[in-house]
């Protein structure tokens, strides 16, 4: 009664009119969204609502896809993107992804942001066997169990990688560290804290205090005071921008002089350090994996110049220094690399390429490789330590490889 291939088009048109034609699937292209001339990618971003600032990630990505299309596409296939607004609501992400998969017939889903937002579609995606690639979250849950979610791949270093990088750095510069941690009491903060505690095992570093806050609290002043009284000489801040800024200011007010480690989530000069005061921010340490156009070291870097020119062409008014646009651009480079590496033009072929990669891509910091395998679903596990000096971040040495010894 319910599965009439031909008639479903008629019925749907009858009701609402707005129907995307289901394209004919051929022997060469058993999956939808790909043909000799085109690859269709679907993305959902918050273009409105409280998370609208993240919407600009799409501009970086689109600028790169436009550049690739101008150069003739990937094996003659142009990338066409379907971009929908989810207003940063997980439920909207679900309806958007269903629309893109079922109505718009996309080949793959690319670059959706947010932990809850990606969790919301995780079971659907893996049931429908649609690649959900280079999502914008570092939550460990997405890469931990490749056998359970074989169609999902994260696009940024996991929180576990960052926590491990911090521990390796501390072992080097402060082997007798007494550490106090401030963390957000949700999946994000707990993910970071747990990874950090795991990485501390077997080292001589001491975790002397940890304090949590809820994102609905007005301030973290009392938590920071408690950490100061604990006698810690290292302050680790696993916080979102608003609280990161408060904590930095509070540390300065208390005249506490710990070594400060700040999660890259909040390593924003504009959103965090300037509001906290640049004086108070000197010497803060964080992690990076992408090139920063404001770093004089990369002023003449061809990858950065290419990015700036292409972004200007596609989005003349966009600020190229926004880390979110840079991230969109870089993840689009990984996406294109995966599409180029496909051995068969199928969704399974794309996943095979994406999960069997060892590449160095232009927008990533020198020495950072994107590495995946059938049992390693964390593409970026090298991070470069950066330190805030004067009014900008300065890279410190070579990337730290946080890969655990591979379990066989």
């Amino acid at each position: 009664m319910r599965k009439h291939r031909l008639s479903y088009l008629v019925g749907a048109a009858l009701l609402l009119g707005g129907i995307g034609g289901a394209q004919a699937q051929t022997a060469k292209y058993p999956d939808p969204g790909i043909s000799d001339t085109e690859i269709v990618l679907g993305s959902s971003y918050p273009f409105s609502g409280p998370g609208a600032a993240y919407g600009v990630v799409s501009e970086g990505a689109q600028a790169y896809f436009n550049l690739i299309n101008e150069r003739g596409g990937i094996d003659g296939r142009k990338i066409r993107s379907i971009l929908l607004d989810d207003a940063y609501q997980p439920s909207k992400v679900v309806t958007n992804v269903r629309q893109m998969v079922e109505r718009d017939q996309v080949f793959a889903i690319f670059n959706i942001g947010g932990t809850a937002h990606n969790l919301a579609v995780l079971s659907y995606i893996n049931q429908k066997k649609v690649p959900q690639l280079y999502i914008n979250t570092g939550a460990v849950v997405f890469g931990d169990t490749p056998e359970k979610n074989p169609w999902t791949l994260i696009g940024i270093p996991s929180y576990a990688s960052e926590a491990a990088a911090f521990v390796r750095y501390l072992e080097k510069v402060k082997p007798d560290a007494k550490i106090g941690v401030l963390y957000q009491s949700d999946a994000f903060g707990q993910d970071l804290l747990k990874s950090f505690e795991d990485a501390l095992k077997g080292t001589k570093l001491n975790l002397v205090a940890k304090e949590s806050y809820n994102p609905t609290e007005p301030s973290v002043d009392s938590q920071v005071s408690k950490l100061e009284r604990s006698g810690a000489n290292v302050f680790v801040s696993f916080t979102i921008p608003k609280f990161a800024s408060q904590a930095i200011r509070r540390v300065a007010e208390l005249n506490w002089k710990p070594l400060q480690l700040l999660t890259s989530v909040s390593a924003s000069t504009e959103l965090v350090l300037k509001p906290a005061g640049l004086d108070a921010s000197q010497g803060i340490v964080s992690t990076a994996f992408l090139k920063d156009p404001t770093d004089p070291k990369f002023a003449k870097d061809p990858a950065v110049l290419e990015y700036e020119a292409a972004l200007k062409k596609s989005f003349p008014n966009a600020n190229p220094n926004d880390p979110l646009r840079i991230r969109g651009w870089a993840l689009a480079q990984v996406m294109v690399k995966a599409l180029q590496d496909m051995k068969t033009p199928t969704r399974a072929g794309l996943m095979a390429a994406a999960t069997n990669m060892d590449a160095e891509l232009p927008m990533f910091l020198p020495g950072i490789r994107i590495v995946t395998s059938a049992n390693d679903f964390f593409p970026i596990e090298q991070l470069t330590i950066e330190k805030f000096e004067g009014d900008r971040w300065v890279l410190q040495g070579d990337p730290i490889d946080t890969r655990k010894p591979v379990k066989e």
Partner: protein, 318 residues
């Protein structure tokens, strides 16, 4: 006789056609429309019949959504029973909300009820053990019983449409009942209503309870339709949207809620198709245009136009 049987027959035909011909995606969209529709029916009892303003409706909707999600995922309760349970929880909350409401009026009531809507997302965020906090709760697809030869989306759609029809019928009946009359009396003139022997407190609290119960059931259908609940879905704006949807559909008739629900579900999508960044503004303009040209809702406007035409054409035919 025909008048009486026409609506159910038309509904049955619509449902059969929809299940046979629509894609699961479209059925899912219509399921969400049905959930909005039930929520608006509930809201119309408080706003349209009793003349009170409620900005707590998004909160009741959220309670229903979370209630259903928790019962299904944590206790393995079958969806229909979970829905009923969540409806009852929302109804009880509605009574709690109705108690202050019977003392407040107008703007004061609006602000007091708004407090409920503001409170829900942070509570859902904090109460991690129950609600999953910011990571939300994943319900997955509805479990279809073995006897039903239907795909999950079609099965849920049947429940959604069936409950919408039931809610419409019940609401229409309430409107015509003595209780409905006392609601109208409260709306028109509280002093006169008391003089006629209406118990204002009981009437108002009952209206809030019914309305909240329906919102709870609506929220449950929404949660299962989306398959996922998270705090960001239920911000205070949701309550405002419900009020807007209700006014757009027209508070005069419960059938207007269908139009309001379609508007809430589809107009933002169409607006986003025109321009992603201006979607919010276009949606706002659409609301204003509707209110400017169809202040009583499209149904009432059409009916008025119909009457006008008859009146102007009748003398000519004589």
């Amino acid at each position: 006789m025909l008048r009486r049987w026409l609506p159910p027959i038309a509904l049955a035909i619509f449902v059969c056609l929809a299940i046979s011909f629509l894609t699961p995606f479209r059925l899912n969209q219509l399921t969400l429309v049905a959930s909005y529709c039930i929520a608006l029916i509930g809201l119309n009892i408080v706003v349209g019949l009793a003349g009170q303003i409620s900005l707590a409706h998004g909160a009741f909707f959220a309670i229903g959504a979370y209630g259903t999600a928790i019962l299904v995922t944590k206790f393995g309760v079958p969806f229909p029973i979970a829905l009923l349970g969540a409806g009852i929880v929302a109804l009880l909350t509605g009574i709690g909300c109705g108690l202050p409401a019977m003392r407040l009026k107008g703007h004061y009531l609006a602000v007091a009820t708004l407090a409920f809507s503001v409170a829900v997302p942070p509570i859902a965020n904090r109460w991690t053990s129950l609600t999953g906090g910011s990571s939300g709760l994943d319900m997955g697809l509805i479990v279809v019983p073995a006897w039903a030869p239907l795909a999950p989306d079609a099965y849920l759609f049947l429940w959604a449409v069936g409950l919408t029809a039931l809610a419409l019928m019940a609401a229409n009946r309430v409107a015509r009942s003595p209780f409905g009359a006392s609601l109208l009396a409260v709306r028109e003139n509280e002093v006169a209503a008391i003089a006629m022997g209406t118990n204002i407190a009981v009437t108002k609290v009952s209206a809030f309870a019914m309305s909240a119960g329906l919102a709870g059931i609506a929220g449950g259908i929404f949660a299962q339709g989306v398959g996922f609940v998270a705090p960001e879905n239920f911000g205070p704006v949701l309550s405002l949207l419900f009020l807007a949807g209700l006014v757009i559909g027209g508070t005069g008739s419960f059938y207007g809620t269908i139009i309001g629900a379609l508007f809430l579900r589809f107009i933002p999508d169409y607006a986003a198709d025109i321009d992603r960044y201006l979607a919010g503004i276009l949606f706002g303009i659409a609301i204003i245009l509707c209110l400017r040209f169809m202040p009583e809702g499209p149904l009432a406007t059409l009916a008025r136009l119909g009457r006008l035409r008859r009146r102007t054409s009748e003398p000519a035919s004589k």
